[in-house]
């Protein structure tokens, strides 16, 4: 789960990580009120969406008067912001963060992520703040300092020294400030089960203090149960409504732009099914993993969600039953045809646990649109043909 910049900064503040003063606004009037309270004389008006690259997309602007705050808030609220991370459709801006302008002497980069190879958190820092870090990694990898922190000992002094010397910070006061900053960030990463924290830019002020000018945080979904405060930060308007509806039924759904709806058990087989459809000349309309506890109800829901997509010309149900029992899926298909108008051909391949029972159920039901397939290749071929109207 991802959160907004202003929410990340609330968490930073709780841990004593310095941030500029700011207030969230949902309307132009509220934005002006916030600006008055903050006092100025310079404010930054920042679009709050779950995507990076907001500045370049025109979603972050500097205001030098309350009139300008008003103009900018009016311009940014309600705009559809397109950045390199939103996709071409962009994202609607529903909130703006009004923040104090900062005295920027230097821009740095700092992040904490999981180093999967080392199986521990890694702190990445760079003097090249404010730039796209992937570009920095590609063009000047020597400018990225990486410090792994073994969680069994936590953030030690030497981790801090590696960071500050790597960043070329020589002033002792600045060294101390940076080490404190990084240590707090590591602590909040661990304590909140974060998946990722990125601060770009992290600025150094004229007084040698380090401040998080931006903040991005993502969390481990599996750990949200023990962080109700973070779960409460979920912004449903940032999530795809179909994906969200699917997840309420234990389905993992992602819309794509092809023509063949897919309903599969297991993420790997689901991706493999999409790959096979593609290989055979078709295009997958979605990724849908029915998970390990599929019931008739969830399968029916899956059909409903797949069929909301008007591009879908055929549906390929590909189930290899392990935990998922094929007879349940077969019943789900029957259920779905009663609840939902399944107006496209449905190609069904059921193998594994209780497959013979499932075949029997489908045979007896004798549904017009349902075509049986013997294996993955056969099913994918039939789905591709059906989508082409053959």
């Amino acid at each position: 789960m991802n959160i907004h910049e202003y929410q990340a900064k609330q968490i930073f503040a709780k841990y004593g990580v310095p941030t500029p003063k700011g207030k969230i606004a949902h309307s132009v009037d509220e934005a002006v009120e916030n600006a008055k309270e903050l006092g100025g004389p310079i404010w930054v008006v920042k679009a709050q969406i779950h995507a990076g690259g907001r500045g370049l997309g025109g979603g972050v602007k500097l205001a030098k008067s309350l009139e300008e705050v008003k103009e900018l808030a009016d311009e940014i609220l309600g705009m559809t912001l397109v950045t390199h991370q939103t996709g071409p459709e962009g994202k609607l801006v529903q909130k703006v963060y009004i923040e104090d302008g900062a005295d920027i002497q230097d821009e740095l980069y700092l992040s904490v992520v999981l180093d999967r190879a080392a199986e521990m958190p890694i702190i990445m820092a760079s003097t090249e703040g404010g730039m796209d870090i992937e570009t920095v990694a590609e063009k000047t990898p020597e400018k990225i300092i990486k410090v792994q922190v073994d969680p069994s000992v936590g953030f030690q002094g030497f981790h801090g020294r590696e960071l500050v010397f790597g960043l070329g910070i020589t002033d002792k006061n600045e060294q101390k400030n940076m080490i404190n900053f990084a240590k707090k960030l590591y602590t909040l990463y661990m304590e909140n089960d974060a998946e990722m924290i990125e601060i770009n830019p992290l600025i150094k002020t004229g007084a040698g203090e380090f401040i998080a000018l931006d903040g991005k945080m993502g969390f481990d979904d599996s750990a949200l149960g023990r962080h109700p405060d973070i779960e409460a930060m979920r912004d449903l308007s940032e999530e795809d409504p179909d994906e969200r509806e699917a997840s309420e039924y234990g389905l993992s759904y992602i819309a794509l732009d092809g023509e063949i709806g897919c309903m599969v058990n297991g993420a790997g087989l689901a991706m493999g099914t999409m790959d096979t459809i593609n290989y055979m000349g078709g295009t997958p309309a979605n990724f849908l993993d029915v998970g390990g506890t599929a019931s008739a109800e969830t399968v029916a829901k899956g059909f409903e969600i797949i069929l909301k997509n008007e591009n879908v010309k055929a549906i390929f149900v590909n189930i290899f039953g392990g935990i998922v029992r094929c007879d349940r899926i077969a019943n789900g298909i029957l259920e779905a045809t009663k609840l939902v108008d399944v107006h496209v051909p449905v190609i069904v391949r059921l193998d594994g646990t209780n497959a013979p029972e499932a075949a029997e159920i489908l045979k007896n039901a004798n549904i017009a649109n349902v075509i049986s397939a013997t294996d993955l290749a056969d099913g994918a071929a039939k789905a591709v043909a059906a989508a082409k109207g053959e």
């Binding site: 991370q85 096979t276 593609n278 193998d351």
Partner: protein, 290 residues
């Protein structure tokens, strides 16, 4: 022969009396797995599925001599269960549970390594030595005995791959579902050499997916150490960049971890890479007939 487990392996089940634990332990027993007991706190002394229940893993190990534990406890208790198994001297823990927090696994894995306990998973179908020992949730009837070893990140693709191998007239020595989470136990790097050393295994199928770099590491190792033919499939060639496809592990960030990159590395290492999982069986038949 086989790797890691066989008909003599003594297995206990942590989370034995729960719904999932019961259902799958029953299936494993029916397959012939030598389950010697299980652990559920406060149910010690009872009997379940005809096997003794213990309060702690230590009690279970002392009474039964078990060396392998199959873990079915709920996600929030996985780390605790893994560490308890390691502490009690279990040699291999097979963690089936899905949804264990990554931070928990970070600590649990370290603790397991420190105690020389191997782990498989979490969020995996488990391990099966065909017609001898099933420790996990895979449909046992697919796995006929044969000469092909199988390693897979994905559960259902494990079944798909094994099923095709069998349909081509071959069979499986041992199949291991390693799981797709960010932090997992045994991976290609440890398992490939085990299959190389197993006299019965004549070919190896490895099924990977986008995200991370385990397959790239595997390619390097195959080039240097593996003489047996390897067939590989990487799921997620059509996955859009930056989208999460169910497995937490399958996130592409930047250029690292794409299917294309992995397929090229494996091909360069002499691996027979198939574009569709529907071709795994045929490819195995091809490499074994050479």
């Amino acid at each position: 022969m086989s790797i890691l487990v066989n008909k003599d392996t003594k297995v206990i089940v942590q989370g034995f009396t729960g719904k999932e634990g019961t259902f799958h332990a029953e299936q494993c027993l029916a397959y012939g797995t030598n389950i010697v007991g299980g652990v559920t706190p406060n149910k010690g002394g009872q009997e379940h599925l005809g096997k003794p229940v213990f309060n702690t893993v230590k009690d279970a190990v002392n009474s039964t001599g078990a060396t392998v534990s199959m873990i079915f406890v709920p996600p929030a208790f996985v780390a605790d269960a893994v560490m308890e198994a390691a502490d009690a001297g279990i040699e291999l823990a097979v963690i089936i549970t899905e949804g264990a927090p990554v931070r928990d696994m970070m600590f649990a894995k370290q603790y397991a390594v420190k105690h020389n306990m191997k782990t498989i998973g979490p969020n995996c179908p488990g391990i099966i030595t065909a017609e001898e020992c099933k420790i996990g949730i895979m449909p046992g009837m697919i796995f006929k005995k044969g000469n092909v070893g199988l390693i897979s990140k994905s559960g259902t693709l494990t079944y798909e791959g094994a099923n095709q191998v069998v349909k081509e007239g071959f069979g499986i020595t041992t199949a291991v579902g390693i799981g797709g989470d960010p932090i997992i136990g045994l991976s290609y790097k440890q398992l490939l050499p085990m299959f190389e050393a197993d006299p019965e295994t004549e070919a190896i199928v490895m099924i990977g997916e986008i995200g991370g770099d385990l397959e790239i590491q595997a390619a390097k190792l195959i080039k240097e150490q593996i003489t047996k033919p390897v067939v590989a499939f990487i799921a997620g060639q059509t996955a859009p960049k930056g989208k999460r496809m169910g497995h937490a592990g399958a996130i592409i960030s930047g250029s690292a971890g794409t299917a294309k990159e992995k397929m090229e590395a494996l091909e360069a290492a002499g691996v027979k890479v198939v574009v569709s999982p529907a071709d795994i069986g045929k490819a195995v038949a091809e490499v074994l007939s050479k």
